[in-house]
Symmetry: C2
């Protein structure tokens, strides 16, 4: 039987530790091809490169594995992989990550990691984004790897609903083992920004954005709850952004 | 009675024609403040500036109106406007555009115009993104302006559901008048990419992304149908990306 074809990308850049872990696990499940950004793309959301050129360069970072670094965004990487690198071969699974930092709740919208997965879902490929809720430069990924394998194997075996990409977040490593997996909805939470105003050496003002994450959600069926309680969270995500309930309301109430 | 406070942004940049039209119409409806990118940000999706600084500079582009250009993305502009420029004053309406080009269907995900509106919705402000389905550099916006006024007035009068941003698209100007407004769902369509491979003067390869828009949707209740049939389309959009139907399916079928 032919091995499944697995495309790997991320948003922290092709030289990050998280993607090395992901490639290692995926190599046990199938034939791996890597197309990932040549520089960090955190917070890039679903950006694509319009009005500018793209570079795609083979690398030797992963011995025995076809890998390419791309000058674009995570969504660009998936598009280039599908339409140029892989051409006629369609991946059985697209995985992105493992991200150095949380992509729970509203962060899914800002996330480059998830934009690669969602782009893959738009293009009809089963896709998963993996993130570790630990921003530390020495973050320990070891407790996540069995779960990465389990979730990817299950996706290969059972499939993922058409048009759905999975947003998987892992809790930071603690004294106790992860308790299990929860299928969740996106928590109702947001980033509350503060802007740190400074003056450059030429006397001109500039700003640093500094966000504080605020969770308004009181439920126990959401990804924030799962992570806080030492579970792996999986949120199935779709790219139809229509607020269907609001169509009825507008048709009723608006006079236009 | 105090005039409503209206924040205006866009993704084509503060010096584009579309935002001038929008500021003109909004000035008839309330007190206007402009915070918009200092350079084109098309295709930026919901990108934000992490790990880099932001500049915010007052401009005199709009006589009698407070306006600022920002070095960041459309989502950065809304965050800076809310938390720094306007501080205690909360806008009654946030509008973005008028975009030079379509943001129907799946383009809502890649759209900088809509990212400003969706960021505003996340932050609890009623928001509308306006786009004209005409990419021409001399695109005529005149047939849209009455509709922009009508839709913004209705939003101020009736409100927009919490957590919802409106994605408004206008058909390109034709020989006949626009037929009216349709409240729509996002059409099932996608961009099919082709990559044009070229060689630079130093002999190194590079790529241009060139997409072709493909509409799979056979319904008549979607934004693509509305635009094709010379209606204004309004899609109410939400930022909860959870595919709720897939939660049940995964809980049933997956063994994890």
């Amino acid at each position: 039987m032919q091995k499944p074809l697995i495309l790997v990308s991320n948003d922290d850049g092709i030289d990050s530790r998280g993607i090395r872990h992901l490639v290692e696990v995926m190599s046990g499940l199938g034939e791996v091809v890597v197309v990932a950004p040549d520089s960090p793309q955190s917070g890039m959301g679903h950006a694509i490169t319009i009005g500018n050129t793209l570079r795609l360069t083979p690398t030797d970072l992963f011995p025995g594995i076809d890998s390419y670094k791309c000058s674009g965004t995570p969504a660009d990487c998936v598009k280039l992989a599908k339409h140029h690198v892989l051409k006629e071969r369609k991946p059985d699974l697209v995985v992105s990550g493992i991200n150095h930092g949380s992509n729970t709740s509203i962060s899914v919208l800002y996330s480059g990691t998830m934009s690669a997965a969602i782009e893959a879902a738009i293009e009809g490929m089963p896709a998963i984004g993996f993130s570790l809720c630990d921003y530390g430069s020495k973050a320990d990924f070891t407790h996540t790897l069995n779960y990465v394998e389990k979730i990817a194997s299950e996706a290969l075996a059972k499939g993922i609903s058409k048009g759905v990409a999975l947003n998987v977040n892992f809790p930071k490593k603690r004294g106790e083992a992860i308790k299990g997996i929860k299928i969740c909805r996106q928590a109702r939470a947001m980033w509350l920004e503060k802007f740190d105003q400074r003056v450059d050496p030429n006397g001109r003002e500039y700003y640093w954005m500094a966000g504080e994450f605020v969770n308004f959600d009181k439920g126990e069926d959401n990804d924030e709850w799962a992570i806080e309680n030492n579970y792996v969270s999986i949120v199935p995500c779709q790219f139809d952004m229509t607020a269907h309930h609001a169509i009825t309301q507008m048709n009723d109430e608006w006079s236009i």
